[in-house]
């Protein structure tokens, strides 16, 4: 690691890898940092190892990541893996922690490519051991070949069906699939179907997964109106409400999923402005066509700015890299524009399916804003929906004041698994839109940092002695 780089990229998912490959090919001095020891992000996790013998289990879309990872491996960048970025200041001072030591360095341009996370799914019992995200199921499968027999998959969205389908391909028995997609979504998605028809292949693929799951004999329940997971110290059963009747399935493992949302913490803590997107029900980066944020020199590429999927992320990574190259005088404006043009077209094409997907898999309100006051919203500080509602009635105006009232959002996850629910819950309780609420204010360190690491910070140690 050097003290300074032309371009620093955070995240080695599709956006980060694409950006790094482009930037280094044009002579920029590039640093790329990621928490994982291997490239790929979550979508292509384990892509350089390919540990699973049977390639049909994960499918062709996954192995597409090989090309990207291959080009990245051949490029000349400083790749720091297994390292946590705990701050990017508005002055582009980057705090990195690796192997118990913290470092500070600077860059002329920073591309934040921190990807997506799964949307919170606050239902009774979602904190019990044995309840995990569907993404977790896939991570365990991709990287360790671990699966759980007789698990129940719950929720909505392409990733849920894909993972269940991968289980099916791998021959792992699934106890049940509880589909929470509201039936009314179909009608609302219909107007967006023509736009999505250019992606007929993808739609057919999704349909194939669902069809295969249904015809496999796996219990596949639709029209779920309410859910609860029960158990004493661990998951014992899931109960679901269909047509006003409760049913119960015994299981030790539940995988939840209702879509992915941008992983915003690092960018927000850097001062990047996000706005509420009512179609996608999450925060979206307020960036320009180059991915540039309001903070000079900081841009956002890929799902961390707004969900577009792996292919779109790759295109966005390229576009932000060309802009960073232009801004750092590595290429001329003309070169930037010529290179970016085809990628822009491809990106526009790729995004055409999104309005359809957003409408089709829009999660039901009762699974975003808990109706039961006893439901945990903040997993870290164990703050329930009821406590949050009570705080609002005591005059708490938004998520920042809520911290003072309840410690909600003050645990180690720093709001990652509660802030969307909290914003929607407070907005509902105050009868205003989420847009009228202040956002949870985030500050570095965005990931916990050992006190010894901060005390031994390399850059400042010399000043003090």
């Amino acid at each position: 690691m050097k003290d300074h780089y032309d371009i620093a990229i955070i995240g080695t998912g599709p956006a980060g890898m694409a950006a790094a490959t482009v930037a280094s090919a044009h002579g920029a001095d590039v640093l790329i940092v990621d928490e994982q020891p291997e490239v790929g992000g979550q979508i292509y996790r384990g892509i350089t190892r390919q540990s699973i013998k049977d390639r049909t289990i994960l499918g062709d879309d996954y192995y597409k990541g090989q090309n990207l990872a291959g080009a990245f491996a051949a490029s000349n960048v400083d790749h720091v893996s297994g390292a946590t970025v705990w701050q990017v200041s508005p002055e582009r001072e980057i705090g990195i922690s690796k192997d118990g030591a913290a470092h500070l360095l600077t860059a002329d341009q920073v591309i934040i490519a921190t990807g997506a996370q799964e949307r919170p799914f606050p239902i009774p019992g979602w904190t019990l051991p044995g309840v995990m995200t569907a993404g977790s199921a896939q991570i365990l499968l991709k990287s360790s070949g671990i699966t759980f027999s007789n698990a129940v998959f719950v929720g909505t969205g392409p990733l849920l069906y894909l993972i269940a389908y991968q289980y099916l391909k791998a021959g792992v028995p699934i106890r049940a699939i509880l589909d929470t997609t509201p039936k009314s979504n179909r009608l609302k998605a219909l107007p967006h179907l023509p736009g999505a028809l250019s992606h007929l292949g993808s739609i057919m693929k999704g349909w194939k997964w669902i069809k295969a799951l249904k015809s496999s004999g796996t219990l596949f329940i639709e029209g779920i109106d309410d859910l609860k997971i029960t158990g004493k110290n661990s998951t014992e059963a899931i109960e679901y409400l269909v047509q006003n009747k409760w049913h119960r399935i015994e299981t030790s493992n539940v995988f939840l999923h209702q879509g992915v949302v941008p992983n915003v913490n690092l960018a927000m803590a850097s001062g990047c402005v996000y706005h509420w997107n009512e179609q996608k029900l999450c925060w979206h980066a307020s960036t320009d066509e180059w991915g540039s944020s309001n903070v000079p020199g900081i841009s956002i590429a890929g799902d961390g700015g707004g969900i577009g999927g792996a292919i779109a992320a790759e295109y966005q990574g390229r576009i932000t890299a060309y802009q960073a190259l232009y801004t750092t005088n590595k290429i001329k404006k003309q070169e930037r524009d010529i290179n970016v043009l085809p990628t822009r077209h491809a990106l526009a094409h790729e995004m055409r399916i999104r309005p359809f997907l957003d409408a089709m898999f829009r999660p039901a309100v009762q699974f975003r804003i808990p109706t039961d006051d006893a439901t945990m919203v903040c997993r870290c500080e164990e703050v329930t929906a009821g406590k949050i509602r009570a705080s609002v009635s005591l005059g708490c105006a938004g998520p920042n004041q809520l911290k003072s009232f309840t410690r909600c959002g003050m645990g180690p996850c720093q709001g990652r698994f509660c802030s969307l629910s909290v914003s929607e819950l407070i907005a509902e309780a105050r009868n205003i839109s989420v847009n009228e609420l202040e956002q949870l204010r985030l500050r570095p360190p965005v990931k916990p940092l050992m006190l010894a690491e901060l005390a031994n910070l390399s850059t400042f140690a010399s000043e003090d002695t």
């Binding site: 928490e35 020891p37 979550q42 190892r49 390919q50 540990s51 699973i52 013998k53 049977d54 289990i57 297994g82 996370q117 799964e118 904190t127 019990l128 051991p129 044995g130 309840v131 995990m132 995200t133 993404g135 977790s136 991570i139 365990l140 499968l141 990287s143 360790s144 070949g145 671990i146 699966t147 759980f148 027999s149 791998a170 792992v172 028995p173 110290n233 661990s234 998951t235 030790s252 493992n253 992983n263 997993r379 870290c380 500080e381 164990e382 645990g411 180690p412 996850c413 990652r416 698994f417 990931k447 916990p448």
Partner: protein, 106 residues
């Protein structure tokens, strides 16, 4: 647990609450424990209830364990090493100094 056939990888052994278990090199502590169907990794500092891994990607902080004496390490972000000593994280972290009335008596 149902294991999918993987390309062979070297094994390491780690200890979990004193019990020795085998893990694959290159996998996380969380994966190694889940393979042995350990679902609960810790109890919370707030109410003492059981928790286990939830997101497996380093953002939920529910898979915290004590590793080689250092509390509150994310099991899903820490890779196994031969001889690693992993313990359940019971309640708040213990950095080696704490008042005796809170001491674990087990």
């Amino acid at each position: 647990m149902h294991e999918i056939e993987m390309n062979p990888s070297p094994k390491v052994s780690i200890k979990f609450d004193g019990q020795t278990l085998q893990a694959n090199e290159g996998e996380t502590v969380a994966a190694a424990l889940l393979r042995q169907t350990h679902l609960a990794f810790r109890t919370t500092a707030v109410t003492g209830t059981s928790r286990g891994p939830f997101c497996m990607m380093g953002i939920c902080f529910d898979c915290l364990v004590e590793i080689d004496g250092v509390p509150n390490k994310q099991a899903c972000m820490t890779y196994v090493e031969n001889g690693m000593r992993v313990k359940r994280q019971l309640g708040a972290g213990d950095t080696g100094v704490f008042l005796s009335d809170e001491e674990d008596t087990q």
